[in-house]
């Protein structure tokens, strides 16, 4: 039922700062999630070089057999990507909303150190609400 399988946030150097897992399949332990994050960071950077067109901003969508991966890179180099069911709609909008939550509840928190793992209660609470709302809306569509 869960359309989203997992959410990753990586900082500009490729380190994983936030990982949340929503599906029951493919649950990963900490080390694996760190590896996947740095793998994606490298692939994203390589794709910018491989592109035949100048000014490419990197991979935005990866479609595979069993999942889709949508990626959003902010102007500062922080990447938000979500692994979801094939064919899930409106993931870009969701990623933008999550970016807004990040700027609000993480960046305005005086106890958060830049580029460090995110440990903000308010961010978690609001993120759960947004994903829940999105899930309900998806069922309705």
């Amino acid at each position: 039922m869960a359309a989203i399988y997992s959410l990753y946030i990586i900082n500009k150097s490729g380190g994983l700062i936030f990982y949340k897992d929503y599906g029951s399949k493919g649950r990963m332990d900490t080390n694996d999630s760190l590896r996947v994050a740095s793998l994606w960071h490298s692939m994203h950077a390589i794709s910018q070089q491989l592109s035949p067109i100048n000014g490419c901003s990197g991979i935005e969508l990866l479609e595979a057999d069993t999942f889709d991966l949508h990626c959003f890179q902010s102007l500062t180099g922080t990447k938000f990507f979500v692994v979801c069911e094939t064919g899930t709609q409106h993931m870009e909008a969701l990623l933008k909303v999550i970016y807004e939550l990040y700027t609000d509840y993480v960046l305005k928190n005086p106890f958060y150190e830049m580029e460090m793992p995110i440990r903000c209660e308010l961010f978690d609470i609001n993120l759960t609400q947004v994903v829940q709302k999105d899930r309900v809306a998806l069922l309705g569509r």
Binding site: D104, Y105, L107, K108, N109, P110, F111, R119, C120, E121, L122, F123, I125
Partner: protein
């Protein structure tokens, strides 16, 4: 009415009328500024109570100035002499000007005669702040407690003001209570005034 022609130039900046000013300030701008204030003070202190004291002192300065401004602008230079008067001034006028809404509630303490509480579901300054677990009872609302202290003390009602989290069942986030404990002399004067 201010004429449509040239704006009157004032020779002395002190003669310029005290306008209402822009009513709205960007919440994000304030949140970032406040976050920087907390971070800066964190580097200067060794422990949490010192950090709270520093925030309170910062708020005190704001409170003193806010009292002067509001007395002139909103109250026509009248001075509050009664306890309930000054408390409702803080609870409605000060809160409205600073945070855009009146405080959620004003209560008298049940255990002690000299305690009053202003409570709020969530202080504006705390909107985006999540306190890490290892900070214990630290409350960024110490800044607001300082503002209240500044207003009360400069109005002639010395008090000790602190901010506390009060857990509420059924809600994930605790409420905030600003606890005001008035000094002896205030209560004696209040009793004398009848």
């Amino acid at each position: 009415m201010i004429g449509t022609g040239k704006i009157k130039q004032y020779a002395n900046v002190l003669d310029k009328p005290l306008g209402k000013g822009k009513q709205e300030v960007s919440l994000s701008a304030f949140a970032f500024l406040f976050s920087e204030l907390v971070q800066y003070n964190q580097t200067q202190v060794d422990n949490i109570s010192e950090l709270e004291t520093r925030l309170e002192d910062a708020g005190y300065a704001v409170g003193a100035r806010v009292l002067e401004l509001l007395c002139h602008r909103d109250k026509g230079n009248r001075r509050e002499t009664r306890l309930l008067g000054i408390l409702s001034f803080v609870h409605s006028t000060v809160w409205k000007v600073l945070f855009g809404k009146v405080a959620d509630s004003l209560e008298k303490g049940t255990e002690h005669e000299d305690e009053y509480m202003i409570s709020e579901k969530e202080l504006l300054v705390n909107r985006f702040i999540s306190i890490p677990k290892d900070m214990g009872t630290f409350h960024c609302g110490a800044f607001v407690a300082g503002i209240v202290k500044g207003v009360l003390e400069n109005a002639g009602f010395p008090a000790v003001v602190t901010a506390h989290f009060v857990p509420v069942e059924g809600q994930q986030r605790p409420r905030t209570t600003i606890l005001i404990k008035f000094a002896e002399e205030v209560l004696r004067r209040e009793a004398r005034l009848g």
